[in-house]
């Protein structure tokens, strides 16, 4: 089956929209499952789209983008994977095999987009000095393009040239470059995390960073479980800081043993 031009356009539009969606309304959303669903609809094979999206979804369960940390872009992966699975009829494994490296390579374009916007930021600074409110507004809005194009363009190109050409290009690419790019995609999220840690009072809370890491890396606790543990520790911290700073705090009942009502229940 060959891909129709309208499918290319729709999927390109989807790629443009999905990243805008993610940073704005968050509906179609920031996760591969839903993108896979929509891509499946466009390709006329909902099931393939769902399965590809779901498989990718499970790889990033509970892994959110914090403080600007990039994460593997399995949304783009879902589009490409679904499209070529349907076109080539080579099945899910082929799709995942395509989607994962694409997702990793795309990290670089996410970084590029977040990076390019600095350009508009400086133009905004300029317009502010000129008291040019409309100019300010305009330049902020321009930010939509780096975001959208960073996803739309590669999807468009990959769909346009077709699977064979992609594979030929990939073959033509020196191996060192393709593996290099893919490796870079794997470690680029590190930058986001490091920036985030710089903007958080990390040194004060370094213990909890370690504990979160410990739970995930040593005990293999999933993200939601770590959040649960973090919640417990946050509450302890909250109560304790109350103990230290204001001894008449109503949450601090360590001296009174709580107040009981007539039937013996604690009122708190």
């Amino acid at each position: 089956m060959a891909i129709a031009w309208w499918q290319i356009i729709l999927l390109t539009a989807l790629a443009f929209w999905m990243i805008i969606d993610q940073i704005t309304v968050g509906i179609l959303c920031n996760y591969p499952l839903l993108i896979g669903l929509v891509a499946g609809i466009v390709m006329g094979d909902i099931k393939t789209g769902l399965v590809v999206g779901a498989t990718l979804q499970l790889m990033v369960l509970g892994v959110g983008t914090y403080g600007g940390a990039s994460m593997p872009d399995f949304m783009t992966g879902a589009i490409i994977g679904t499209a070529y699975a349907v076109i080539s009829g080579k099945g899910i494994d082929f799709a995942i095999g395509l989607a994962v490296p694409v997702g990793l390579l795309m990290v670089q374009l996410d970084v590029l987009a977040r990076f390019t916007n600095t350009f508009f930021l400086h133009r905004v600074d300029q317009r502010i000095k000129d008291n040019d409110i409309n100019g300010v507004a305009r330049n902020v809005v321009y930010g939509v393009f780096p975001w959208g194009i960073s996803r739309a363009l590669p999807v468009f190109l990959m769909l346009l040239v077709g699977n064979n050409v992609i594979q030929q290009v990939v073959k033509a690419l020196p191996t060192w470059l393709s593996t290099g790019l893919s490796a870079a995609g794997g470690i680029l999220p590190v930058v986001g995390i490091a920036i985030l840690l710089r903007f958080l009072p990390t040194k004060r809370f370094i213990s909890y960073l370690i504990i979160g890491f410990f739970a995930a890396a040593y005990l293999k606790v999933p993200m939601l479980g770590v959040a649960l543990l973090g919640l417990a520790m946050a509450i302890i911290f909250y109560k304790q800081s109350g103990n230290n700073n204001q001894s008449d705090d109503e949450d601090n009942q360590s001296n009174t043993g709580g107040h009981e009502n007539a039937s013996g229940e604690y009122e708190d």
């Binding site: 930010g143 680029l188 979160g212 410990f214």
Partner: protein
Amino acid sequence: MQAANMKTETERPHLTKKDLFQANWRWLWSSQICWNYERMMSTGYLFTMLPTIKKLYPDKDDRIAMMTMHNQFFNTNAYIGGFIVGMDMAIEEKKGRAAEETVAGLKAGLMGSFAGVGDTIFGVILPTIFGSIGAYMGLKGNPIGAIIWLLVNFAVLFLRFSLLPLGYTQGERLIYAAGDKLNRITDAAILLGVTVVGALIPNVVTANVPLVFKSGKVVLKAQTILNQIMPSLVPVALVALCYWLLGKKQMNSTRLIVTVLIAGIILGAFGIIGN
């Protein structure tokens, strides 16, 4: 003080429901639209405030000052950040430019804890729950889970919209009533966020060392050694390195990204780091 400040409260323009709606709408669409490594969500915040600035500060100098202030570093969770905007609007409406520093402090003081709480709820908890349901169903070709997730996202969108007005009407009261508690809540929220970030490292960074040493029949896999030392050792080391680099005078996020990108390609090309 500035001109705007001299007016009595009644003289000063009032913000209407429409203004609030407009800010809400703008925050929704713009908060991260010009996101960048230098000041993150500053432009989005500024864009959101533009109509308010126009209305509250007829004076040119005031405008420039407030625009400049609102274009300073800002980063929080977009889903619940509207609350901060709402509070800000209430304060600026009452105090005008006199509140410049108060507002700057408020924004810097609240953004961290709002990020911690918001990211945990909307980045970890909800996607884990509905992502699990949806993915499991999706694997079987069943779209119902995905559709449920879509509906939940609409519901979340609806809820988000109530936060800016809430911040406008109740924000000050809530914040001041909280008093010292607020610092403690902030700290607790950051603690939670930091814990989750710690767990993010092994989950989001893919950095294996695929080096294999062979000599005769002997095969040595570097990653196996590293795992024996500590799981996710390379991701941790890389995060630490980047964190340290960011502290250097000559280094900024822009340079760091380029550095990491190039280093990644080179290390990858030589097969030292891989997925």
